[in-house]
Structure formats: C-alpha cells, structure tokens
Amino acid sequence: MKAALKDPRRRRVLTFAAVAAAVAILPVFVRSEYYLYLLVMVGIYTMVAVGLNLLMGYAGQVSLGHAAFVAIGAYTSAILTVRVGVSPWLALIAAALITALVAAAVGMPALRLRGHYLAMATLGFGMIVHRIALQWDGLTASDRGISGIPPLSIEGVTLVSSTNDLGTYYVVWLVALLAVLACSNIVDSRVGRAMRAVHGSEVAAETAGVNTARYKLQVFVLSAVLAGLAGSLYAHYMTYINPDPFDFAHSIALVVMVVIGGMASTWGAVVGAGSVQFIEVLLDARHLHEQKPVAYGLILMLIMIFLPQGLARGGIDIAARLRRRRQARDR
C-alpha cells in the first residue's frame, strides 16, 4: 500500500477511485431532499470550476464571465425544448455545441488580450450576455424566465428532473467526475505541458515552438463547454430558469471557487465548489440574514490571507507540517 502511494500515477488513480466511491455512497447518508439538492448544486459547480481551474490555474488566463457560458447552456436547453420542442437529450448536445461556438468566436479575439485586459473583456462579455437574457423578451422571456423545461429521461424513466433528486445527483456527479478525470489527464499530457509553459512564460513557450494561441483557445473552449453542459443540466433539473443565477456576481463566485479550492490542482475545483456551498449553508443555518454578506466577505478574506494557495494546497501543507512536528517529537 505504501509503495503504491509513492508512485504518483497510481496515487492519482487511487485518489480518483476513493473520491468516486465516496460520491457513490454519499446519498445513503443523506436523508433530506434539501441536502441532496445542495450536493447536486456542488456537482454542477464542480463541472464549471474544474474547467475554469484548467483555464486559470494551468493556462494562466482569467475569465470573469464564465457564468455567461452557463447561461448559454441553460437557455439553449430551455429555448430548444420549450419553444421548439426538441428532445431534451438533443438540447443537451446542442447546448454544448453552441457554447463551444460562442466560446470560439469570443475567445479568438479575446485571448489575444493579456492579464487585466482579458479579465475585463470576459467581464464585458458576461455583462452583455446577462443583459440580453434580461432584455430580449421574445427569446428569453426576460425576468419572467422560462418554465416547464422537460426532464432528461431514458425510456420514460426520468434521470435529471426536479422530481428525481437522486437520479440527478448520480448523472451530475458522473459528468463532473468525468470532467475531473479528463482535465487531470489533459494536465499530464503534451497539451498540459504546453499550457504550463504558456503560464510560465508565453514568450518562452512561443520560442520553444508551442502554438500558444491554439492551446489557449482550446482550453477556453473546453472550459466553456463544461460550463454549458452544467447550465443545461441545471435547466433540466430546475425545470425553470431566469437571468438571476447568471449575473456578474456568479461569474465572480466561480472564480472564488477556483481560487479558494486551489488553483492548478484538479481536485481543488471540487473542494472550492463544496466549500463555497458549505459556507453559504452554514451562514443560512445561523439565520444571519443581514450579516450574511459581512460574514461571507470576512471568511473569504481570511481564507486568502492565511491560505493564499487555497484550501486544497493549504490543507496538505498544514497536514505535512503537523506530521513533521509529530515526527520531531517522537524522535
């Protein structure tokens, strides 16, 4: 066992298997529907965060507009199924394709920008998409929203729907874990090395023959597709959407998840999505209505001040320090 843990590749497989097993049996311990709903939401956010983590942590490109891709996925599903009458599964695929197209169209000019300029461009894009969702009444029914979005089902058995939290849980987490697996494989591949090179120094990467523009665009599109899928699943689960959960604050929340979890660690996305949800629930349970944002802002600042590498890395570092201290004492 100890030898197996030394080999990084094996350790990764073991970690993945352990987390997958934990995810699979977790619902057994969850009695209330509300907590199941929260776990579904963590899965949906994980999907988005893992892609954004790849983009920010490995490729070094910030996006302050990823809620827009979630919106595009959700609205594609809603409009195609409710207005056009397309089958939900087809709508799910269309949601992924359309977010990919939009991401490519936005990413091509935007990824030429650097640092804060890219952050502002993605922020602007997010604002524009949110405005359209809010104003284009004929397409999105503005703030009244679109209701009656059909569930995803196979042979009459509903899988993702508001009436089947458990089914939704398993589908969402299956997709989320596949996304984690795909992203950690990408990180270890040739593409991953190229991305890290871009993050380290774009000029140097370019000199070494890395087509930086192409890699950046690929990662951007991949992260957008994951966001679009998450949006689509969200729409079929909730059966109703309006522009509220896709505004600037949510784009920021996604970035917060990535950074709190720990950038450049694939599991950081899960930790981040889970922690943000956990903090919210904790504050809600304390009935701190007025003081909730105050407490939330404070927690955010404290985590960043004391664990600037995020919770995942910070936790590992603290564990290592404790172990060293214990070893020193035992000696």
Partner: protein
C-alpha cells in the same frame, strides 16, 4: 431615428457627466493598480459609501460642504484601513490572491452598508446649487451637472499637480514604474501603497458624493459605476492617467449616444452598449486607447 439638436446636446451632456464620473473612478483603479498591480473590486463600494455617508452627515444637521468633506474623509480612512488589515498582511502574495481579497472586501463592505443603511432606496442628497435647470441653447442642464464637471476637472488638475510637481507624487510614480528601484533610492514603498489605497478610496467617495443629488442612493449603486470605471481604465490603458480620462469620457458618451440613437428598446441595453464598445476597441487595440507597453513576459 429623428433626433433633434436639443436632444443630441442633452445626450452629449449627460454622457459627458457620467463619463467624467467613470474617469474619476478609473483614476482610483489606476492608483492601486500602479502601486500593486491589483484590480480593486471594492472600488464601487467606496462610491456607495461616499454617497450614503454624505446623506447621513447632512441628516444629522451638518452643513452641506462639511458633510461632503466629512464623507470623503470617512471613506478615505476606510480605504486606509482596508489596506492595513486585508492587503498588507499578504504582501508578496500573487496578484489573483490579492484580487480575491478585494472581492472579499467588496462583499464585506456591501454587507456593512446594508447593515447600517438597510437595502431601501434613499431620497437623493440636497443639490449643491438648488434651482431649476439652466438653458444651454436648445438643451436643459441640471445645475448639479455643472458642479459634477467642475469638481471632476478640479480633482484631475490637483491629481496632475500631485503627480508632476510634488516629491510625494514623484515617489508614487517611481513605485509604479519599478518598486525595487524605488526602494533602493529610499522610497518607503509600503507607505506609497497605503497612500494609493487611501487616495483611491477618497476618489471613489468623491464620485459618490457628487452624484448623490442626481441618483437614488442605495446599497448597490456603486457596483455598476465601479465596473464601468474599471472598463474606462482598461479602455484608456490601465495605469495611464490620461487614458483613464479619455476612456471614461469615451465610455460615457458612447453609452449615452447609443441609447439616444437606438430605438426605444435600446435603453435597456445601455450597459451592454458600453461594454460592447469597450470590447470592440480592445479587439482592435489590445492595450487600450493610449496603452503602448505590453504586459507580455
């Protein structure tokens, strides 16, 4: 689209007024960016705080000018405290960590604002120069617009004086240029960072105070103003004072004229117009209107 000259002038004036506000806020973004390379997402909260403090100070009976100065002073101290408590302890952390801290600070400050003032809209502040609107050719100008433009111009002049003519301003610019080099010649970089935060908060508060008579002040009034200020700073070229002014005015005029020239449904897209124009400029000129330096490593 039939637009009379009077209406066109009206749109130009309100665009200029909002543009000058964006410019002041953008100058605040620039100050902190130059000192720390960080985008301060709490900038909009300084605007809100300025407006609401001035309302409360007037309400407890202080004369208007005292209330205005008092509000700016309170927010300046808030900016100073934010740097001391949230930014200084993590000196040397990565830029993204610092940015998340400013996001935390913005959520925190917004929470404090709703805690203290509630989430209802407030009646506007008493105008600085009461009376009916003034006629400017075919257009009518609210008297407050004149105050806003005047105060913004005066502020820009003072900032220019500070930056170009005083030793302190030169030290701040040296820090922006190269912190290590500035330290070597004996400039206290930490103090300059602190000063940038205080000054930047003061500028945000000033924008909030002068706009308070023409808007309905409430807890989230600064969010969009802050983001537009950020957009203006980027549009002009981050870190360049003249760029902040140019970016702000461009953004203000563009969104105002966009609303005027589009059919009725266009007014709902006011914010989208501003950000579309900014994106269009960035796609053509990736470093902003006046930016020449590349951020490439």
């Amino acid at each position: 689209m039939s637009l009379t000259w009077g209406q066109l002038l009206q749109f130009l004036l309100s665009g200029l007024m909002y543009g000058s506000l964006y410019a002041v806020i953008a100058l605040g973004f620039n100050l902190i960016h130059n000192a720390t390379r960080v985008v301060n997402f709490a900038q909009g909260e300084f605007v809100t705080l300025g407006a609401l403090c001035s309302l409360s100070l007037v309400m407890i009976g202080l004369p208007l000018p005292v209330a205005l100065v008092g509000a700016v002073a309170i927010v300046t101290v808030t900016g100073w405290a934010t740097e001391r408590m949230a930014i200084r302890p993590v000196r040397g952390a990565s830029v993204i960590t610092l940015i998340i801290i400013t996001i935390g600070a913005s959520v925190f400050l917004r929470g404090m604002v709703t805690w203290i003032w509630g989430s209802d809209e407030r009646p506007p502040l008493r105008p600085f120069w009461p009376g009916p609107s003034l006629a400017l050719g075919p257009a009518m100008v609210q008297r407050q617009y004149i105050w806003i433009l005047g105060i913004v111009l005066a502020t820009m002049f003072l900032l220019w004086l500070l930056g170009e003519k005083t030793l302190l301003g030169k030290a701040m610019r040296a820090c922006a240029f190269n912190q290590r080099a500035a330290q070597i010649v004996g400039i206290d970089v930490g103090r300059m960072v602190l000063l940038s935060w205080a000054l930047s908060a003061g500028l945000g508060a000033l924008a909030g105070v002068i706009i308070a008579p023409v808007v309905t002040p409430k807890w989230d009034m600064g969010v969009m103003l802050g983001l537009k200020g950020f957009a203006a700073a980027i549009l002009g070229g981050m870190g360049i004072p003249a760029g902040a002014v140019l970016g702000g005015i461009t953004l203000g005029l563009a969104e105002s004229l966009g609303v005027g020239l589009l059919p009725d449904w266009g007014s709902g897209y006011k914010d989208a117009i501003a950000f579309s124009i900014m994106l269009a400029v960035l796609f053509v000129k990736p470093t902003g209107l006046l930016g020449a330096r590349s951020e490439a490593r």
